[in-house]
């Protein structure tokens, strides 16, 4: 009995505390990550993957000879401060890697250097042959916009239940043909979580 106590204590202590770096290349380790009520790594990764696949599979990018996409407004209609780049960066990276579309970074003001370079025209300090000529910027012909919605629902909860809330997230995206102004692709990815206390901050 005396030997059992230190063993049990040792096991209990082993289970406590410490920082752990999750190996994102190890699927088991990622799956074993603790679940939270907020949107987290797995939600963003899965949503971005599904959204990109949906867009590519729709064949809509083939309708343009050279699709150039501008990243438009992603409305964050949740109660959490989220940098929407977490979602859009993964989508645009996959699109670029697929070679089926290009992303316009100058148009939305994301990249300001291409404008700065153009301001150096006629500046004697710079070799003018290395300065971008007029009429070289490419305008986007498509834009990607979206919205993140959060709904908190109270659930019936018993004395010993650790679940009292359902949080429903809806991540919606739209691809618009800028020439016609028409939506050419849309999709929605719901993420439903049940647990204790809806995330507010």
């Amino acid at each position: 009995m005396k030997r059992m106590i230190p063993l049990a204590l040792c096991l209990a202590l082993t289970a406590c505390g410490g920082t752990r770096v999750v190996d994102l290349n190890d699927a088991d380790e990622v799956n074993a990550m603790q679940h939270v009520m907020e949107l987290e790594y797995r939600d963003w990764t899965n949503t971005a993957k599904k959204m990109t696949e949906s867009m590519l599979d729709s064949g809509v990018l083939k309708s343009q000879p050279k699709p150039v996409i501008a990243i438009g407004n992603i409305v964050n209609d949740t109660t959490q401060r989220i940098d929407t780049d977490i979602l859009t960066k993964k989508i645009r990276t996959t699109l670029l890697k697929s070679g089926k579309a290009q992303i316009a970074t100058n148009f939305s003001g994301e990249d300001t250097t291409s404008n700065t370079v153009r301001n150096l025209r006629n500046n004697a300090e710079y070799d003018q042959n290395t300065i971008a000529q007029t009429g070289t910027l490419i305008a986007p012909n498509m834009s990607l916009s979206g919205k993140m919605i959060q709904r908190n629902l109270k659930l019936e909860s018993g004395w010993f239940s650790s679940v009292d809330t359902r949080v429903e997230y809806y991540l919606q995206m739209t691809l618009t043909d800028l020439k016609s102004g028409l939506s050419v692709w849309e999709d929605e990815e719901p993420i439903i979580k049940e647990g204790k206390d809806a995330p507010t901050w």
């Binding site: 409305v75 964050n76 949740t78 109660t79 401060r81």
Partner: protein, 398 residues
Amino acid sequence: MRRIIYFVLFLFLCGCASTMQSHLNDIQNDFANSDFRTTTESVASEQNNLDLLINGTALFLDGKYSESDSTFEEFNKRNLSETSSSISREAAGLLVGQSVNSYKPYMMDSLFVSYYQLWDLLALHDWSNARVVINQSYKRQQDMSIEYKKLIEDNKNEIATDSQISEFINTNAKDWLAFSDIMNPALMYLSGIYFLNDGDFDNAITYLKRADGMMPNNRYIQQDLEMAQKRIRPTNTTWRFIETGFAPRLREENASIYLFNLGLIQFTFSDAYLMPNYTVPKNAELLANVDALFMTEYNEYRVNEILRAYTTAVSKTTAQALLYNSHSDYAPLLGIMSSIYTASSSNADVRTWATLPKYIYIERYKNNDKTNNLIYNREINGKIVNDKIIELTKGEHK
């Protein structure tokens, strides 16, 4: 000897309440002199709940919007379940005296945190996070509304159990022009203006209707609501928010009730008083009566506080009586210690977010700026201590 101990203790306790009173007076004076940095210096090192609230306002008025937002965000993270504060507000304080506890925010405080955060983010042109703050505040108001109704019901039930305290509360009840719910019309209106300028008319209607419901005589809210219903975005319009005076403060009051078996039961509770000096701006209409907002909530806490202070006083007096009558050699000493404990742990909490305004007025007019503007004015003692203009355009800030 016993009298001396009581006297020293009395002076000490007076000191507790008066030190806090004087601290809050100093802060109000700093605000009146536009000396917001002195306030920040005086509270930044403490960083308890009340300090965070006061510092957040001081930083906002000093134009340090990002720091102000972070300070309020820290407050939010520390007070995730502020709606369940009604009972916990009182319970812990009964053992050691209310003012020894960390400041438990009023529900109204949390709504003003959202209000000032919204101003911070609009000033930073952080359109995206401003929307998040509005969503958070909407959820807060829903939760608080439920909690507030529960508090009223609990108080009614508790009062009904003791006829003497019930009589005391009814005799000391105060009539206030109070709202029937926990809401902040200024926050609702500012949120409505945000959505109106964003072209999100459905949300604009929701928030403006709520503001209109609380302030049905305000013509400016009605004009904006009408535009939202017609789905028209206003142009060349300025909304000027004017905050004036200071919100109610609290002071310590003593009371006693005679009980047949225990004798005189003495207890302490806080009592609110209104701050004088405010200005009614020309062409402006009342948007939020903060006196009424505060009193709506405080009235219920006051009932709660009196009930608990009274119950604790009864149990402490009973314990004292038992010690005196225990026939132990140490009975007199234990009795004195018990009396000291009773006196030292019965002080009332007089802390409030003292920099909040008494009234918020709104003026709405056409401008020649070819843009829509928000103007924020803070007026104290007839002097504008802060004047800022925010252009209502979507920013790229992240």
